[in-house]
């Protein structure tokens, strides 16, 4: 307090770091996960009294406990990854598409409508491509509408895409009333349960394999598109600065519309895979909140589709582990979600230490100034 000049120097200073070598940054991440697991162990002992080792074993078993579970884990990773891939180009362009949930539902709705109305009328070779095209178109339109208003009238896409979610949910709720069986039950049940019209076929006797392969190819395509194509470059320039983009002659409006359309189209594809390849039914919870989880996946991976395979796996692994803990120890899911929260917090926190240096005010600072 005596020397006012020292007041200018804060106790803790945070500054941007130069990029860290890859092995150092991975060491920081690994350390973060290790610390998170240690903290989780204390939480487990304090709150439940169970052995943390047993709990971690159960978490692992949740994803890998049996062959069936492994397939389902990869299927779930594929679905979350597909939606994450969808939101990535939009986010990279700083177009806050938080309407993936609604876009997936729009796609799912189109698929179900095709299965119900065209199921018995068309051969599978025609039906499935029509279903895919219809759902991609539905998702595309659902995202294109907010993008059109953003590009032309500078509306806020965050609110607009969010609102479109509610519209999609209500549209699905309406169609459920048309299709529900029995009347008033609010449940459509499995569509074409015996004829399997419009169901994605199994590959090598594995019903999820086709889903997984489709999403894997979309992942690779998205990686190439974002990294090596001219479109991908335009997306990053528009994302960094619209003025720069305009200055170098990029048609910003066109890029926004094109990218949003792509984002919606992949969401529509995810809706198709969820209905035709997984659930064979539709409900207002078909997307199951994954449209929002996808945003975490995409950000955690810094929009890199290849890394997103890891981050989507991480989130599904935690979720399935949470379910398993609930079953094995008869705990409700709150405890496992606390654990997931701690782990995510540490992982995100580690990114901070990778990107920034924290320096404390040096003791000899005052003398230095003199």
């Amino acid at each position: 307090m005596k020397n006012r000049e020292t007041m200018h120097e804060p106790l803790i200073r945070i500054s941007k770091k130069d990029s860290m070598q890859w092995y150092k940054s991975w060491a920081v991440r690994t350390a973060a996960i290790a610390l998170a697991l240690i903290l989780c162990a204390f939480v487990i002992i304090l709150l439940t009294g169970y052995s943390p080792i047993e709990v971690y074993k159960a978490v692992f078993a949740g994803s890998f406990g049996s062959e069936r579970k492994v397939w389902l884990t990869f299927q779930k990773v594929a679905m979350l990854l597909c939606i994450s891939l969808a939101v990535t180009p939009a986010f990279k362009m700083r177009f806050w598409n938080i309407g993936a949930e609604g876009q997936v539902l729009a796609g799912a709705l189109a698929t179900s409508a095709c299965m119900i109305y065209l199921g018995s009328k068309l051969p599978p070779a025609a039906l499935i491509p029509i279903m895919a095209a219809a759902s991609i178109a539905a998702g595309l339109i659902w995202c294109f509408i907010p993008a059109f208003f953003k590009a032309n009238f500078k509306t806020n896409e965050t609110l607009f895409t969010l609102m479109m979610n509610y519209v999609a949910v209500q549209a699905v709720a309406y169609c459920i009333i048309l299709w529900e069986n029995p009347k008033g039950s609010n449940s459509v049940g499995i569509i074409n349960p015996s004829s399997h019209f419009g169901w994605l076929p199994s590959l090598f006797n594995q019903k999820y394999l086709l889903n997984i392969l489709i999403v894997f190819s979309v992942t690779v395509a998205m990686y190439i598109y974002l990294k090596y194509s001219k479109h991908g470059y335009e997306i990053s320039v528009v994302g960094e600065s619209e003025n720069t983009a305009k200055y170098i002659g990029i048609n910003v409006k066109k890029v926004i519309l094109r990218t949003a359309a792509l984002s919606g189209a992949i969401c529509g594809l995810a809706g198709f895979l969820l209905v035709s390849g997984t659930d064979h039914t539709i409900s207002t919870t078909t997307a199951g909140g994954q449209g929002f989880t996808a945003i975490i996946v995409s950000w955690l991976a810094k929009f890199n589709p290849i890394v997103m395979m890891l981050t989507s796996f991480l989130l599904i692994f935690l979720e399935r582990g949470a379910g398993e803990i609930a079953t094995v120890f008869r705990l409700n899911q709150s405890i496992s979600e606390i654990l997931s929260g701690i782990i995510l917090f540490f992982i995100i926190g580690s990114e901070f230490f990778i990107n920034y240096t924290v320096s404390f005010r040096k003791k000899n600072h005052k003398e230095g100034k003199k």
Binding site: R68, G189, G289
Partner: protein
């Protein structure tokens, strides 16, 4: 950099969204009181016997808690371990239900049970794939006709319980009339339903008929929330009824929205599945409840003995499947307990029929015939004559209710569209 802060902001807010879904109460095991009369148990359940129970939500939903409590009570009664009674919570009504059922089979379950209507198609799918495991589904409609030998439905004659709850409500209305608080023609009740579905319509009609049994001038309005669990909508519906001068409210939805709104406004409330005296000490009257323990006990014992499970089982007051929760003496009109005991014995003896065609009219006419949609089909074809010996025979041709009429005195039960 701003980017990181945004990541943090988004992730933190989203993780809150993820976490909020399940909050409250830790999963400590509570031993529940054993409602069913303890008879000497001779059936020994083998140590390798397992039952898996699939639940739509967890114990935060009163609907699912009712199943969990019943299963735990039977577990204690039959001396089973936690490994023998496996709960799978928060299983959505989609492919996950099938996968969970298959997973339970992998774990060695001899019985897989699911509690939500939308689980049915996936349970049937699993039943076809695993013929050596018994699949039991509550509230479903297909077991009788699906022709899958290891697939079963179950429900309860809950309309009996609703009728008794209605009697308690009618007694309360009579007390209000006698005290001069309302006139006889102002005895209007409000009923909050989840969906305009036969199960809900059957329940609200039996509740109304119970009230009318003791209070002939009663009328009732119905509002639907179009959700099984929506605190906000249920609360709003209750408040709307209160504004419409309804003097007593009941509901068939799973949140505490309506009981709380009633407590705030001082309006008596009749609930379902759990006692709400804790939520509304001054307004909660009574609840009717399905006790699933008799059914769980039956299927576990039958499978352990190698006997078959009924295809479509429906338990009533006699079996202990339909029970009433504690009557709140602070709210109930004097003499309610005696009246309930009297009506209950008449229901058991068959002297009183809940859906006695002499006790209600539809559009001013007494019903002499009604074709119900009992056999599931896509066109909802009415296929079965449900009026028999001058009463509507609910849950006799199929456990899941099929009463689908709006009787005189009730408004809004079947939405017009």
């Amino acid at each position: 950099m701003i980017k990181l802060r945004k990541i943090l902001a988004i992730v933190l807010s989203l993780s809150m969204v993820l976490v909020f879904a399940s909050c409250g109460g830790n999963g400590e095991e509570k031993t529940t009181e054993d409602g069913t009369g303890t008879s000497a148990d001779t059936t020994k359940i083998p140590a390798n016997f397992k039952i898996g129970i699939i639940l739509l939500h967890d114990e935060n939903s009163t609907y699912d808690k009712n199943f969990i409590d019943a299963a735990k009570a039977v577990q204690t009664k039959l001396g089973l371990t936690n490994d023998q009674v496996i709960f799978k919570v928060n299983v959505p009504e989609g492919n996950d239900c099938y996968e969970t059922a298959a997973e339970l089979v992998d774990l060695g379950c001899k019985i897989v049970f699911a509690d939500s209507f939308g689980h049915e198609s996936y349970m049937m799918q699993a039943a076809k794939e695993f013929p050596n495991v018994q699949f039991c589904h509550a509230t479903g409609t297909n077991a009788k006709t699906a022709n899958i030998p290891n697939y079963h439905n179950a429900f309860a004659h809950i309309y009996q319980g609703r009728f008794l709850a209605g009697v308690a409500a009618g007694m309360k209305l009579n007390q209000m009339i006698e005290d001069g608080k309302i006139k006889a023609d102002e005895a209007k009740m409000g009923y909050i339903g989840a969906y305009p579905y036969a199960e809900v319509i059957s329940g609200l009609t039996s509740f109304y008929l119970g009230a009318k049994y003791v209070c002939p001038s009663v009328t009732m309005g119905v509002k639907y929330t179009n959700s099984w669990f929506d605190i906000g909508k249920e609360k709003e519906a209750a408040q709307a009824f209160i504004n419409e001068k309804c003097v007593l409210i009941s509901q068939h939805a799973d949140s505490e929205g309506a009981p709380k709104a009633c407590e705030e406004a001082g309006v008596p409330n009749v609930a379902y599945n759990i006692s709400t005296i804790g939520l509304g000490p001054n307004t909660a009257l009574i609840s009717s409840k399905i006790d699933w323990a008799p059914y769980f006990e039956l299927i576990i014992k039958n499978v352990a003995k190698g006997e078959s499970i009924p295809v479509d089982w429906c338990g009533g007051i006699n079996e202990g499947s339909v029970v009433m929760t504690e009557l709140n003496d602070k709210v109930a009109a004097p003499g309610t307990a005696d009246k309930l005991a009297e009506v209950k014995s008449k229901l058991i003896s068959g002297e009183v029929k809940v859906f006695d065609t002499a006790s209600f009219k539809v559009d001013g006419k007494t019903i002499t015939t009604f074709k119900a949609d009992v056999i599931p089909d896509e066109a909802f074809t009415p296929d079965t004559e449900a009026i028999k010996d001058s009463y509507f025979s609910e849950s006799e041709f199929r456990s899941a209710p099929y009463f689908y009429m709006q009787i005189d005195g009730i408004t809004g039960a079947i939405p017009t569209n």
